[in-house]
Symmetry: C2
Subunit: 243 residues, 2 copies
């Protein structure tokens, strides 16, 4: 059962980052932003390592303000497949507990999020439609990422998968202002990467070492720095060399 709280005080800076990214995406005016900031004082807090499930009988959308989560499924033989990582600014679909059908959402870090239904119902008339729209778009993007992920798993080598994922995470974090230079927090163990990318932990490690050796990225202390974005992009297969 997820521990909910309305009182914990989030790190103001991160909330402000999320808010301003949100204001940009949804085109909020100054007044809207003030009201949103008010709304964001009450949020759900989910502890790291626990499933994020909906309280009601049906599924519910949550908008992530702070923290990371993932969608995953554990197979009968205890292997685990991670379907996606969910970052601040993303929307996650929390299903009722016990509904393990498609996948389970699990908090990877302490997770602060806002119930989308509540958000919409307490928003003022003006931004409500744009908010609803943004939430729908976010959900679509989640689906689209599934396609990307299938391509990664089906067509890419280990190095390509790792790099492709890192670039994806970078771009998404950059949109919410969580990238400085090309450095960002990465609260994932190599086992998480392995489970997401369909590789063994050992091979993820070797792959990272190879990239590090080539001076393409640095990973340390739960953080990454991408060193040659251009070159990394070409490894990930995103760019075709002109023929």
């Amino acid at each position: 059962m997820s521990e909910l709280g309305k009182t914990h005080h989030p790190r103001t800076e991160e909330v402000e980052l999320a808010l301003s990214a949100f204001a940009r995406r949804v085109l909020l005016d100054a007044g809207d932003v003030v009201r949103m900031r008010q709304l964001m004082r009450s949020f759900e807090l989910h502890p790291a390592g626990f499933p994020v499930s909906s309280l009601g009988p049906g599924p519910s959308l949550k908008w992530i303000v702070t923290g990371w989560a993932c969608e995953a499924r554990v197979l009968p033989d205890s292997r685990r497949q991670i379907f996606s990582f969910l970052l601040p600014g993303d929307v996650l679909l929390a299903r009722p507990a016990h509904a393990t059908r498609p996948c389970t959402v699990v908090a990877l870090t302490r997770l602060e999020c806002i119930d989308v239904d509540q958000l919409l119902s307490s928003a003022t008339e003006g931004p409500r439609a744009r908010l609803a729209d943004a939430m729908a778009t976010a959900t679509d993007i989640n689906e689209e990422r599934k396609f990307e992920h299938i391509v990664r798993l089906g067509q890419h080598s280990a190095a390509e998968r790792v790099v492709h994922l890192m670039l994806d995470l970078r771009d998404r974090l950059a949109e919410v202002g969580l990238v400085r230079g090309d450095t960002f927090r990465l609260p994932l163990t190599q086992e998480h990467l392995a489970d997401a990318l369909g590789l063994s932990v050992v091979h993820v490690n070797r792959t990272l070492r190879a990239l590090r050796t080539k001076g393409l990225l640095e990973i340390r202390f739960g953080g990454v720095t991408l060193l040659h974005r251009q070159q990394l992009a070409s490894i990930a297969g995103r760019v075709q060399a002109p023929p």
Copy 2:
């Protein structure tokens, strides 16, 4: 551009199979069925090998009466990833041509389908709600299959992937009465299988040969027969022997 036709006469038997499967799923009464049969006289015909795109500016749902399709994306280096196979009874999301963003739907055989919007608008009040519900459910199932596919690609060996897919196809075709014994049509080349399962054509071939040699299935003439469903299921699920 897909060739549309309202005149071609589908094979009555297959249409009746689709209709009765549909009636079962949506709980149509005899009168509904008669009206549906009327509706199904006019359908869109898409030739094999061509993209199935929506005619209007937005995406549109089509209900497949006859034939196979797939969702796929071609990568810049000409590799191809197939995301899903779509069978009679399934619903496909046709996007406007030029919208290659997430994926493209391609007809693998001659494809007869009905536009869902038209279907709903011409249905009588009684079944309309149940129809809409069935279409929404079908769409959800499509999404759920993406998760299954990710698991296949991320966690399964070549043999497991092949068997898992075959069992999936069998179950889905069985629901619309297209399986006799454990034999069904399979209008896929080994290259299609390879592109879907993230394997090389050569290795798909070898994997099939191994399964054939073990007497687990037969593939010939665009058709398959599964011989030991039980045993195949245990291969696909990596059921562990008790230690």
